[in-house]
């Protein structure tokens, strides 16, 4: 692996999160589209998402979306302004912190759904 610094990792993570979001969107569209095949099929497909890997995966998707969004703002600043490039490292750390915060928030909001036996408080959706 080439020993690049923050910029290289920002770029790799941006690509990776972009691909993750794309895969999620394809899965999402196909899942919703399964309603065309009837209620049972739709129900069966969505039952799958109750499995733990999918529940946890959703937290990852939330993190990927948040990272992609905040690093996207960093890229806008770098491409459209003359100061963006000078502060790219600080902007990246800020994007990472924001993404982590969003991920933790999603995790917190989903704890009762993930571990119903341990966390019984009501989620922000009242369930």
């Amino acid at each position: 692996m080439y020993k690049g610094r923050e910029g290289q990792w920002a770029f790799f993570l941006h690509r990776l999160s972009g691909v993750a979001i794309l895969l999620y969107l394809i899965l999402h569209t196909v899942s919703i589209g399964s309603t065309m095949l009837g209620e049972e099929v739709y129900g069966a497909v969505h039952k799958l998402y109750e499995l733990m890997p999918f529940r946890l995966g959703l937290i990852g998707v939330a993190g990927a979306v948040a990272y992609h969004a905040f690093n996207g703002l960093r890229i806008v600043a770098m491409d459209f302004t003359s100061w963006g490039v000078k502060y790219q490292r600080q902007l990246w750390y800020a994007a990472l912190v924001m993404a982590a915060l969003f991920m933790l928030l999603t995790l917190y909001a989903n704890l009762p759904r993930l571990f119903p036996d341990i966390f019984t408080y009501k989620t922000i959706w009242g369930r």
Binding site: Y2, G4, E6, G7, Q8, G84
Partner: protein, 233 residues
């Protein structure tokens, strides 16, 4: 001190695939990596091949991937590497001809593509084309490029897409685009507005980190991006 040099070697006439050759030798902390390579070539294994010319950081011949980063072998001291084991590989994204020597043809084709020469067909002034120090300052950084290819071959986009002109060619274009005396700016910007041009830059900053001349390359590419962007609106 003792140093172990692991060199990525390949001779297309003999080897089926590249391999790591290891050399253990006595070096001085103040030796440059190039001095050690010389020592290996002259005293241990004469078949080791690498490029170097001036050996003083100006000709740009000895760009190599040293301990995972692109650098000039003649500008890195052993004591700056922080360790006794040193890996040396050819720069990436260009085909290896032998050991540390790569085919620089695509690199120089990109360089030629941006018309790296002064264009001004106006009537010649009686004396020099004058320029204010402030106007000269605008493109000062990009005049320092020595075409060593450290930047272009550190770029992840260039590794996977050789049609990208690359940071070095854009730096060379920048040197003329922002020269107040030059009249070829529009043609160069049009060239860099193509899908092989500046928009391929995904701001990974490897070029800026790798440049042995400390040119703020990503910043320079950004200036060209904005020149295209704002000239079209």
């Amino acid at each position: 001190m003792q140093a172990v040099f692991k060199i990525h070697r390949f001779n297309p006439e003999k080897d089926k695939k590249p391999y790591w050759a290891e050399y253990t030798l006595e070096v001085d902390a103040k030796d440059r990596v190039l001095d050690v390579l010389h020592k290996i070539k002259w005293e241990i294994d004469g078949s080791l091949s690498f490029r170097r010319s001036c050996a003083h950081g100006i000709c740009g011949s000895d760009a190599m991937l040293i301990n995972g980063k692109n650098r000039l072998a003649c500008k890195v001291l052993m004591m700056d590497l922080g360790g006794n084991t040193v890996t040396v590989e050819p720069i990436r994204g260009l085909s290896v001809e032998k050991d540390l020597i790569v085919d620089m043809t695509p690199f120089f084709e990109s360089y030629e593509a941006v018309m790296p020469f002064f264009i001004n067909d106006d009537a010649m002034p009686a004396r020099e084309h004058l320029q204010s120090p402030e106007d000269r300052e605008i493109y000062d950084a990009s005049t320092k490029c020595i075409l060593c290819a450290c930047c272009t071959t550190s770029c992840p986009i260039f590794w996977v897409n050789g049609s990208y002109l690359g940071p070095a060619a854009i730096v060379q274009a920048h040197r003329f685009i922002f020269d107040s005396r030059d009249k070829g700016g529009a043609a160069r910007l049009a060239m860099l507005n193509q899908n092989t041009g500046v928009w391929r830059c995904r701001t990974a900053y490897n070029c800026t980190e790798a440049c042995p001349r400390d040119i703020p390359i990503t910043d320079v590419i950004g200036q060209v991006k904005r020149a295209i962007l704002y000239s079209n609106t």
